[in-house]
């Protein structure tokens, strides 16, 4: 599958090589450093199209690509078309680092959109910071990061949990059973949840982490049956989440008595689980496919038309989609001669736009103000929003760490 114009690129690389061979000093002195000086605007798409996380990342790629195509069809930015340069990092951090270098150094992309897992973001981070480029990361994540070179589009712990936990304690009870995969995101979310539970005089009856990809939950379910918690607080991801949901269903536990409340389960996982087994459980996220807004109707319709009637949108590919528009809005604010990654970042700060989930805003700490929602899964695989934050919630990447704050000037100790 050739997604690029092979001849055009080969030609360009050839000339670059020739120029390099003939005039190495010219390259060193910074000729050709200007961003987007050509007829189009190169942007990188760095989502895994193959490998372990491709099932999710491909949908992020699709949403971002669709936004680029929409922008191009509407005439581009300042009359210039966006040129998406697609790379496949194959779910491997070392390959992420390599491809990020390609996009940011060789191809001189003004921005790169990419990745789902924390490990891949952190593989890209050194290159983005060293080259002062801009990396648009659409995924919810554990926080405690304050880079000036990453635009964070996903929800943080405070945006996922602040309305969720009090509501759960009130409606289901204070006894939480924590189950997650063994890596940084579940641990950090659970740390934050514990601080909230402390104020609500809730308790954690058990905290458990299973390896990535773990798929046998019989012993976990036995312990759940014995402990009888009020809430099963889940940060399982991917295959583990799917396996857990199915086995919970097979074990005939009752979602009305002890529902699984997930921070990571979206339409895409539910599609794999099956609506029947997912029904009755909850997820907390800023966006669900069934959310009612004109922007979302347009987004879902366009997405289905482009990728098939059974394609689903979810809270990560919604962010992958709106981040491209945030990028566009920032670019339009800039004089074409001033285009550079740091200038795009500065122009983007404070900018608001109507996204499918609601009107969002980019904070000076480069995270996004979002609209938290809690939804209950239905047998048809869709989520019904039952609780919605009354106001937009500001991102606090250091919410669990008093004394530290991420601001427009980077990390500040107060």
């Amino acid at each position: 599958m050739k997604r690029r114009e092979f001849l055009g690129r080969a030609g360009a690389v050839g000339t670059m090589g020739l120029a390099g061979g003939l005039s190495a000093p010219a390259l060193l002195s910074g000729v050709g450093r200007a961003y987007a000086a050509g007829d189009d605007i190169p942007v990188g798409l760095l989502f895994s199209l193959t490998g372990a996380v491709a099932v999710v990342e491909h949908t992020l790629h699709d949403a971002a690509l669709m936004a680029i195509e929409e922008i191009n069809a509407a005439g581009g930015i300042h009359g210039k078309q966006l040129r998406p340069i697609i790379e496949d990092p194959a779910s491997d951090p070392a390959t992420y680092a390599d491809r990020a270098r390609r996009l940011m150094i060789r191809d001189k992309c003004v921005s790169v959109f990419g990745s789902y897992t924390s490990s891949s973001r952190q593989a890209v981070l050194p290159v983005a910071e060293q080259r002062n480029n801009l990396y648009w990361y659409p995924t919810l994540y554990e926080g405690r990061e304050c880079s000036r070179n990453v635009m964070y589009g996903g929800a943080l712990a405070n945006q996922q949990q602040d309305i969720l936990i009090p509501w759960l304690v009130e409606n289901y009870g204070p006894r939480f059973y924590m189950i997650g995969n063994n890596y940084v995101y579940p641990k950090e979310e659970n740390n934050y949840c514990k601080t909230l539970l402390k104020d609500l005089s809730g308790e954690v009856v058990h905290e458990e982490y299973v390896p990535m990809g773990h798929s046998d939950f019989s012993s976990v379910l036995n312990r759940i049956r014995a402990e009888e918690p009020d809430v099963i607080f889940s940060t399982l991801v991917g295959d583990s989440d799917v396996a857990f949901a199915r086995q919970y269903h097979a074990a005939e536990l009752n979602p009305e008595k002890m529902p699984v409340v997930s921070l990571t389960r979206s339409e895409i996982e539910v599609k794999a689980i099956g609506g029947e087994a997912a029904a009755g459980h909850f997820s907390s996220a800023p966006y669900f496919m069934g959310h009612e807004s004109p922007e979302n109707e347009k987004f879902v319709e366009a997405y289905k038309a482009r990728y098939g009637a059974d394609a689903v949108t979810h809270f990560v590919n919604e962010a992958a989609y709106f981040q491209v528009y945030q990028f566009k809005n920032a670019m339009e604010k800039l004089d074409p001669a001033d285009v550079s990654p740091p200038n795009i970042r500065d122009a983007a700060v404070g900018m608001s736009m109507k996204a499918p989930q609601g009107e969002i805003l980019i904070d000076e700490n480069l995270h996004t103000h979002l609209w938290p929602k809690v939804a209950q899964w239905q047998a048809d695989g869709q989520a019904k929003v039952i609780l919605q934050s009354e106001e937009r919630v500001a991102p606090k990447p250091y919410a669990a760490y008093p004394g530290q704050e991420c601001t427009g000037k980077g990390l500040v100790k107060t």
Partner: protein, 366 residues
């Protein structure tokens, strides 16, 4: 033998010329290409290290990535401590680790780190080797045991999040300061540092294979029992080469962590370990030079293919490997050796053929 030595020295000189002069001249000292190449060169070291144990002594080490990973973590631990200043590395806070684990403390010192990156992998390799070779384990069982060790070790690193950073590995590293020189991985000087490391490793490798030590290793490869009856302590020889190979892999790992600016448990994955075997096989496991060249060529091919065929490149590489295994079982090295032999034979044949023709002619005339 001396003939072969001179070929190898010429090969090394050619290789050094290409790496140290050819590549920078061709790619115009551009930060991106040289940076990509320094990655290949560090991988070439781990590939040539495998050639030492696999090609020379016949010990197929499928756990090469484990010792490689140890080296990369040693380097990353030093740089992480440097980046954290007075405080604890950030991921320890996430895992509620309150004080710096004793394991981490000595990595404040650069000298310790450089030695540890070389000696810890060597020691671990040596320990496994002692158990294996004292028990006279050989052949496919060496591969199975080393593979099992790799899987167990990777799992341990991922599980011990508070000490290792778990799935994410060690990220957010400082720049290395080597005797007052701050290492910029995009600078030409860094490329030369990695290039020179590779040349040193290759020289060590060539010296070992051409020494009496190498001769005995080859004897062990061909027939371990017979070598034992000659009075050589086979297990000791195997252990030493296993140690050296593991140490070189650790060294390569340190360079790799520098190039990519993070250490990840994926460096210790089974797929990465098998990739090393593939590079070694494509180049030719009988020669350290060929194994190093194999690593560079395969990675270069992967890079160029993935640049053009965004999604299809995995398949193409797979087909390429299949073809190599089927038609070039000794790798590129085997093809070159065979071609050289054929040329020589043809040269000899040319001298005889006229005589034969003449006799034939004279017969016909007669």
């Amino acid at each position: 033998m001396t003939n072969k030595l001179s070929y190898d020295i010429i090969g090394l000189a050619l290789f050094a010329a290409v790496i140290l002069f050819g590549v920078p001249a061709f790619f115009g000292y551009d930060g991106f290409e040289l940076n990509t190449f320094s990655r290949y060169l560090s991988l070439a070291i781990v590939s040539m290290a495998l050639a030492l144990s696999w090609g020379t002594a016949g010990l197929l080490n499928l756990g090469q990535a484990a010792t490689f990973g140890m080296g990369s973590y040693a380097m990353a631990m030093h740089l992480k401590l440097k980046a954290s200043g007075e405080g604890l590395p950030d991921f320890m806070g996430w895992n509620n680790v309150e004080t710096l684990p004793a394991l981490w403390v000595p990595f404040h010192s650069l000298t310790f780190t450089l030695l540890a990156g070389l000696l810890i992998p060597a020691a671990v390799g040596g320990l496994i080797a002692i158990f294996m070779f004292r028990a006279r384990i050989a052949g496919v069982f060496v591969a199975v045991i080393t593979l099992a060790f790799l899987v167990a070790f990777q799992l341990l690193v991922i599980e011990q999040q508070g000490f290792t950073g778990g799935q994410n590995g060690l990220t957010g590293l400082a720049q290395l300061e080597l005797f007052g020189w701050t290492v910029d991985i995009y600078a030409t000087s860094f490329y030369y540092l990695v290039g020179i490391c590779l040349m040193v490793a290759l020289t060590v490798g060539l010296y070992l294979t051409h020494s009496k030590f190498g001769l005995i290793l080859r004897a062990i490869r061909e027939d371990a029992d017979r070598t034992r009856y000659f009075g050589y302590n086979v297990a000791n020889y195997q252990t030493v080469i296993f140690c050296i190979s593991a140490g070189l892999a650790g060294w390569a790992g340190m360079l790799y962590a520098l190039v990519l600016e993070f250490a990840s448990p994926t460096y210790m994955s089974v797929s990465f370990s098998l990739a090393i075997v593939i590079w070694c096989a494509v180049g030719g496991r009988e020669s350290v030079l060929a194994a190093a060249a194999g690593a560079i060529l395969v990675n270069l091919a992967e890079n160029r293919l993935s640049d053009v065929f965004v999604e299809g490149w995995h398949m193409m590489l797979g087909v390429l490997f299949l073809l190599v295994v089927m038609f070039m079982p000794r790798g590129i090295y085997g093809v070159i050796v065979d071609a050289g032999r054929a040329l020589r034979r043809k040269g000899g044949g040319d001298a005889e053929e006229p005589a034969y023709d003449a006799s034939l002619k004279s017969k016909q005339e007669g």
